[in-house]
Symmetry: C2
Subunit: 252 residues, 2 copies
């Protein structure tokens, strides 16, 4: 088995209203079963999800948390507005967004945007992925998948990795149930988070900083599916021991 | 930028004493800067790290934990013997191995081994990676990197991903400090866990089960380095909020 992974070069700086699907199709010849991986930053920009601190009024909780972090209270308010739960207030500000994504500071980014502005994550990344995916399919006549990525820290380990926050025509978790191992025993390990592995693959080529490239294509995996919902990758409350641990910490 | 990722096909079932480096070099033409990704399972087999439950005597703590899991106490004893700390006893058995790797059941595997036997992780995966890497370099005259992988679950999310547990001639965490973003601001996010992203990439092609392929080559990334230590990817105690949360949970 062999796959090819390559950047779509020459993507310009994006503004609200730009058509990402057209921008990609003008720069690369798309094939059936390509997985088109797009950094959430450019989605947010094309969707106009850029905002300013001076338009935010911080509440009491935001002021309290901000003081412990040396952060701007209005920034913390923006984080709280995008979160269904704060899992850790300090020394990291770890939240679960309304979409179910657990991340630092709700994924709000001060990098790669004009000074004084902040970028949001897309609020419904599956919808964003679907809109772009359908437009690429209409442009090209090819059947493709889309994954929208963010970068995220991990428990126990240093460094961030690319992870999936939205999908189109790909199941984020592959189920190996019923498969047998080399010796004919049923496999105990049954689920593989392929969307996150693909996002990490793409992130190796996206890079950070001014040499960054926000669109990467994976060719040769051939795992396009009907359906696919990013919520399948978020652990249910019942199964989540780590969340339970963090909540118990906040009560100490 | 473009990279190629491909399996090394036709790797036989391995036994103690097999020379993985030769087996790879006989099957694939290696180039400078190739990253050779190897599943820990075959390393453990070639190193003879296969053991039997009947050779283990379970202690009191193992018997206690085993009862809550419906596990064999001797299996739990094997997990405890390989762990410097048990972070969660139940409903998952999450430990930190002597090598610093946080994982379920110390990574002991019942899959892909003869019935009645278990496979260990290599106790010093950097050493295993270095030994294989040096032999491949001696065979081929090329300068390469090696990453040894396991599959691991994650906090907050379903599914496992490939992760790095040992490295040769690659820094597991890439530092972006001093880089500027598209608008000339210094980047706030500064570390990328490239070894885990590469392990995840390889895992997409390795698969699980009887169609699995334990060796994958990544060509085109060109990130070989002098030095490289897997311990750089493990978070220091001081920075680890999640561990603190899990410990506080165990006291509740």
């Amino acid at each position: 088995m062999k796959i090819h992974v390559f950047t779509v070069d020459g993507i310009p700086l994006l503004k609200k209203g730009n058509d990402i699907a057209s921008i990609i199709c003008e720069r690369e010849s798309i094939e059936d079963n390509d997985i088109i991986v797009i950094a959430s930053t450019i989605i947010a920009k094309a969707e106009g999800r850029v905002f300013r601190l001076e338009d935010i009024v911080a509440g009491e909780r935001a002021i309290d948390i901000a003081a412990r972090h040396d952060l701007d209270p209005r920034f913390v308010q923006a984080v709280l507005d995008r979160s269904r739960e704060v899992l850790v207030e300090h020394p990291i500000l770890l939240v679960e967004t309304h979409n179910g994504h657990v991340c630092i500071k709700a994924g709000i980014d001060e990098s790669n945007v004009e000074k004084g502005y902040l970028i949001d994550l897309p609020p419904d990344p599956d919808l964003s992925a679907r809109q772009i995916g359908k437009r690429i399919e209409a442009h090209t006549g090819k059947n493709i998948s889309v994954i929208i990525t963010d970068t995220n820290g991990r428990a126990f380990k240093n460094g961030q990795t690319g992870i999936a926050i939205g999908v189109y025509k790909i199941h984020p978790v592959k189920n190996w149930i019923g498969k047998k191992d080399l010796f004919g025993n049923m496999l105990a390990i049954t689920e593989e988070a392929i969307a996150d592995e693909i996002a990490g693959t793409a992130n190796l080529l996206m890079g950070e900083g001014d040499g960054g490239c926000p669109v990467v294509i994976i060719r040769g995996l051939n795992i396009r599916s009907e359906g696919g919902d990013i919520k399948d990758i978020y652990r249910s409350e019942r199964q989540d021991v780590i969340k339970k641990g963090l909540r118990s910490l906040s009560k100490v």
